[in-house]
């Protein structure tokens, strides 16, 4: 076994280990440890990606001396490695972008607790990506939930506490349903290992026995994960949680945490149940309907919102709707589009959050829409970054959002079930127009010059790029990432297709 193959296991253990390590360090040191851990893990994941692409084969890694159905194991393929690299990059940029806000908004004595949360969150995301065992996935879902709560409420004002409570209740409900689904599956198949469950499920499906419990299990797991990733009717926790928590928390939560769960759902569909059986079970039709409703309703709520950060949060609901709609199409093209959208949305939404904080900073820390007039001139880089993010969200060519919308549309046209074709295309069109309404409205507001008298009265300041090098660097990286995803999407789409082939 090549030494590189140990890297996935090492990256999980390293991030797990660094959590308790941060608890005995001071906030400043913990910050460096955290950054170093993310960089090292990103590097290791890139090496793993290179290795897997080189051999062209997935491999399993036994965690301990006992082979798979008895012990734990993790499984590494192209898609897993891509996700790990990508999550590390986004997490590093989110942490860089929010340094100033973290230091201002979190008490000095609790700084190191923040890094514990982030390190353990990273480990849980990695474990969710790599694990080949449903119960291990559940354990790390727990870590993910608790650390996300911590990230929300560490900035202590009343709103975040309420938001964290709401998130906790909804998220625990989701975990409960997921666990119930896992129990059902275990009772039916006698296994917790994904590949073994899949064999057994195929047998059961062929026999035609246990039809109802299997359907209920699939439903429970889908609904549980849908709640945790804020699919439309279960989104009530999201706007406050993203809108009022500290900047890096908001961007990490929106771009990584919900995406980790969605990736787990992809794994469950492909590696646990088998996508044919999921398609036959009609559960995806439900996801399809709610995805489409979410696409519209999320955008409508965003248009009504006057707080810029809450507006971006509502936009997340719409984007999650896109992803579930892609699942609902029931074709491989749809899933590829969804996974591409996971990537592109993660890159864009984090960019928008960081840029929005740069804009509000020069508007007297007001998140109100009307105070943002002319903010694009006062903080030029953030203005440009926000514009790039908005254009990408709306789906203008050159930016990453365009590619994902294109993929969704292609998947929608290519779907066999023609009943789904028209709703998909119509919903895409309506949602794009709605996106344009609220994002372009904000961009125009940003570049409408404010009267000098008002500026002087409100004492808005100017911020130059060099004043906050970390944030500027993060923003530039995000912009480059967005353009890269938009301009050279072919290799990434091929990677995703390659990875999905390994899944099946």
């Amino acid at each position: 076994m090549a030494f590189v193959q140990n890297f996935p296991f090492m990256s999980i253990i390293l991030s797990l280990f660094s959590g308790p390590l941060c608890s005995i360090l001071s906030g400043r040191k913990a910050k460096w440890v955290n950054a170093a851990v993310i960089v090292i893990i990103g590097g290791m994941s890139a090496a793993v990606l290179g290795f897997v692409l080189g051999t062209g084969q997935e491999y399993v890694y036994t965690m301990g001396h006992f082979p798979a159905p008895w012990g734990n194991e993790i499984r590494v393929g192209v898609l897993e490695a891509v996700m790990a690299v990508f999550f590390c990059v986004i997490m590093l940029l989110c942490m860089l972008g929010g340094i100033r806000e973290r230091e201002e908004e979190i008490e000095d004595t609790k700084q190191n607790l923040y890094y514990i949360m982030v390190n353990l969150l990273l480990s849980s995301l990695l474990a969710l990506i790599y694990t080949n065992d449903l119960f291990t996935a559940y354990v790390f879902v727990e870590i993910n939930t608790i650390s996300a709560c911590g990230l929300i409420m560490i900035r202590q004002n009343g709103r975040t506490l309420v938001a964290a409570t709401r998130y906790m209740i909804m998220s625990l409900l989701g975990s409960g349903l997921l666990l119930l689904g896992i129990c059902f599956l275990y009772d039916l198949t006698g296994h917790l290992l994904m590949s073994n469950i899949r064999e057994q499920v195929a047998l059961i499906h062929a026999n035609g026995s246990y039809h109802i419990p299997l359907l209920v299990a699939v439903g429970l797991m889908s609904v549980g994960i849908a709640i945790k990733s804020a699919l439309y009717p279960f989104h009530s926790w999201l706007p406050d949680a993203y809108g009022y928590s500290t900047l890096s928390s908001a961007s990490i939560l929106s771009s990584l945490v919900s995406k980790g769960y969605i990736f787990l759902l992809v794994k469950i569909f492909y590696r646990v149940i088998g996508f044919d059986i999921v398609r036959d079970s009609k559960v995806i039709n439900v996801l399809f309907v709610f995805g489409i409703v979410g696409m519209i309703m999320g955008s409508v709520s965003a248009i009504k919102e006057s707080n810029i950060r809450r507006m971006i949060s509502y936009s997340s609901i719409a984007q999650i709707g896109y992803i579930y709609m892609g699942f609902g199409l029931g074709t491989t093209a749809g899933i590829v589009a969804s996974i591409y959208h996971i990537v592109s949305h993660a890159a864009t939404k984090a960019l928008l959050f960081v840029a929005a904080s740069g804009i509000t900073e020069v508007s007297g820390d007001s998140t109100d829409f009307f105070d943002l007039t002319g903010a694009g001139y006062r903080n030029k880089l953030s203005g440009i970054a926000f514009t790039v993010g908005s254009l990408s969200m709306v789906g203008i060519p050159v930016f990453s959002g365009f590619i994902s919308k294109l993929l969704f549309a292609q998947a929608g046209v290519g779907v066999e079930n023609t009943a789904k074709m028209l709703p998909t295309l119509i919903a895409l069109a309506i949602s794009t127009v709605l996106n344009a309404v609220y994002f372009m409205k904000t961009v125009i507001r940003l570049y409408t010059p404010e009267k000098k008298a008002v500026l002087e009265k409100k004492e808005f300041k100017q911020v130059k790029m060099t004043e906050e090098p970390a944030k500027s660097f993060a923003l530039i990286c995000f912009i480059v990432l967005n353009l890269f995803l938009g301009l050279s999407s072919e290799p990434i789409i091929r990677l995703i297709e390659n990875g999905l082939n390994m899944f099946a």
Binding site: G19, S23, N72, L161
Partner: protein, 324 residues
Amino acid sequence: MSKKVSQEKYEKTRSYRMKQWFDGTRDPFLNTVEMKPQKVFSEDKETLERRAEDRKKLRERIYDTAGNTEVRVFRKFYRVASVLFCICLVVMLLAAVSGLPTFGNPGNPVNNEVAARYIENGLQETGAVNIVTGMILDYRAFDTLGESHVLFIATCTVLILLRLDKSKKGSHGIGYEAEEDRIYEPKNDVILQTVARILVPPIVIFGIYVILGGHLGPGGGFSGGAVIGAGLILYVNAFGFAKTERFFHEKTYKRLSFCALACYALAKSYSFYTGANHIESMIPLGTPGAILSSGLILILNICVGLVVAGTMYTFYVMFRKGAY
């Protein structure tokens, strides 16, 4: 008819003394106790008025309950809908459960080669007499590693939420004492202290026994740690924080849990690494049944036990006082 006894005579009888003891006016050891009627909890007019005003304001500003027909209609609808939804859910889940394999049937899919190997080879492969311990700390140690980090991160979240840091303690305004009852130490209660003095050592020793014997019989890190944590909580209730702070401080907790979790992670990394790379593990399993046996399980149990005990105690302290 009972004989009418004069008051003086009656006061000398045993029954009168019994009654006095019962009423609490006289103690057999301390003689007459000066009785103080318990103060009825009452707030002065000002606070009451302020509170009523606040409540009124709240209602006016946030909830317009009286005139809002939409809210009333929605509430009725909500009640009906929630009942209907629950009934649907119950029916659906019952249908699903009734479709599951019969409980306890030997032919069930659960009774497959996985369980068989745990039962048949568990003792030889892990060296643990207690199969459950062998399963969670050897076969599936990765899950348990995650699980102990769940406890750790739960403590950290509670620290974020409840820990009061010195910088935050503000002025002593109105109602400070009512809000800050955490500044009061527990009273020196003789009964509690005596009981604690008798009970705490056996509780802690029992906890240690449960942890150390986890691979030999029922028990293990999670249950033993919980027992030790309960012992510590009893101790702190009886003797106050000043005494526990001498040996258990926040730094102690952090270092303890760091050492335990790091030890766990290192030990398991070794066995994961050797296992995956097909290197022979150097750790002897020992004779099953001996205290020093079953490889790493004993160490892992101690680590888990430390984390659990610290977590229990920290939870209690945070909710009680907000600081160590």
